[in-house]
């Protein structure tokens, strides 16, 4: 399966990366990791990319890493459609102090607008 994973530097990133790589190894997915050029997070895009590269090397899979600038939600949806991806994977929301799941604006945009199947990783 041709899978597009979108990650930025938020708390959800590691879980999404971990789970997607694990599945890619199992299912022999053709994986592309899109690093979103967002700056309002704990980790910078460079750090996120380095983490992704480490994880992919460790799993020993041949995946593509690319950087995505512009509006992250619509870019992800665009790329998935234009390049014939079967599935789009993103983080499944952050938790509030109370423990409530809160979906970010990128997640919302992707859920409402993607034509391909979307997986939220938690």
């Amino acid at each position: 399966m041709k899978v597009l994973l979108g990650i930025a530097g938020s708390d959800e990133t590691d879980a999404a990366l971990e789970e997607t790589v694990r599945r890619a190894v199992e299912a022999n997915d053709d994986l592309t990791v899109a690093i979103l050029e967002e700056t309002d997070h704990e980790s910078s895009p460079d750090e996120v990319e380095a983490r992704a590269r480490d994880r992919l090397d460790e799993a020993d899979i041949d995946a593509t890493i690319r950087r995505v600038s512009g509006d992250p939600g619509s870019e992800l949806v665009e790329i998935a459609e234009r390049e014939g991806f079967d599935r789009l994977v993103i983080g499944g929301g952050q938790r509030s102090p109370m423990g409530k799941i809160q979906l970010g604006s990128i997640t919302e945009f992707v859920l409402l607008n993607a034509q391909v199947s979307v997986t939220l990783v938690r």
């Binding site: 509030s96 102090p97 109370m98 423990g99 409530k100 799941i101 809160q102 979906l103 604006s105 919302e108």
Partner: protein, 177 residues
């Protein structure tokens, strides 16, 4: 959390601190008290019995261990009031600090299914906000799913105002002090 927070001393003054005892609309005698450590197990039992269909945004979690872990955070960090029917917990409302400033708190409230629509949720809000006001809480905020009419109506009735309506969930807030 940012956004304009409505302020009204008049509104905030009307809340009363726990304990409060009253008869609910089903004729049960209910007492609302601040949670003390002895009440923890009964509260965990209430959540174990909670209908999964009434969960909101992933809380309460399911399973004994996850429920207890979640409650421990609320008890360690937050302000909690519980509605008791004898020694049975019928409802719970909580304020958990945001972390950044010690003034802003997130609110949640749960009433066990068989006790809903009997006036307990309204009284719990009153007691929780009275308790919070007494403890120097300044801002209270929450997010709620748009379709959760019971909760949205309850929050509006208490005086919460919507501060962000741009996403799936409404963000509402109230200024206490």
């Amino acid at each position: 959390m940012t956004g304009d927070r409505p302020h009204s001393d008049e509104q905030a003054d009307r809340f009363s601190e726990p304990p409060q005892t009253f008869e609910d609309r089903e004729g049960r005698e209910i007492t609302i008290r601040a949670l003390d450590p002895d009440g923890f197990d009964a509260l965990a039992e209430m959540y174990a019995a909670f209908d999964p269909a009434d969960r909101a945004q992933g809380i309460p979690p399911t399973g004994e261990d996850r429920i207890e872990g979640w409650l421990e955070t609320l008890v360690d960090e937050g302000l909690n009031v519980v509605a008791w029917d004898g020694d049975r917990a019928a409802g719970h409302a909580t304020l958990v600090p945001d972390g950044d400033d010690g003034e802003s708190y997130e609110l949640a409230i749960f009433v066990l299914q068989e006790y809903q629509e009997s006036g307990i949720g309204g009284r719990l809000m009153d007691a929780l906000l009275g308790y919070g006001r007494g403890n120097g809480v300044e801002n209270v905020w929450l997010t709620v799913e748009r379709w959760n009419t019971a909760a949205v109506n309850l929050y509006e009735k208490v005086g919460f105002e919507t501060t962000n309506a741009e996403s799936f969930e409404l963000e509402m807030s109230f200024r206490l002090n």
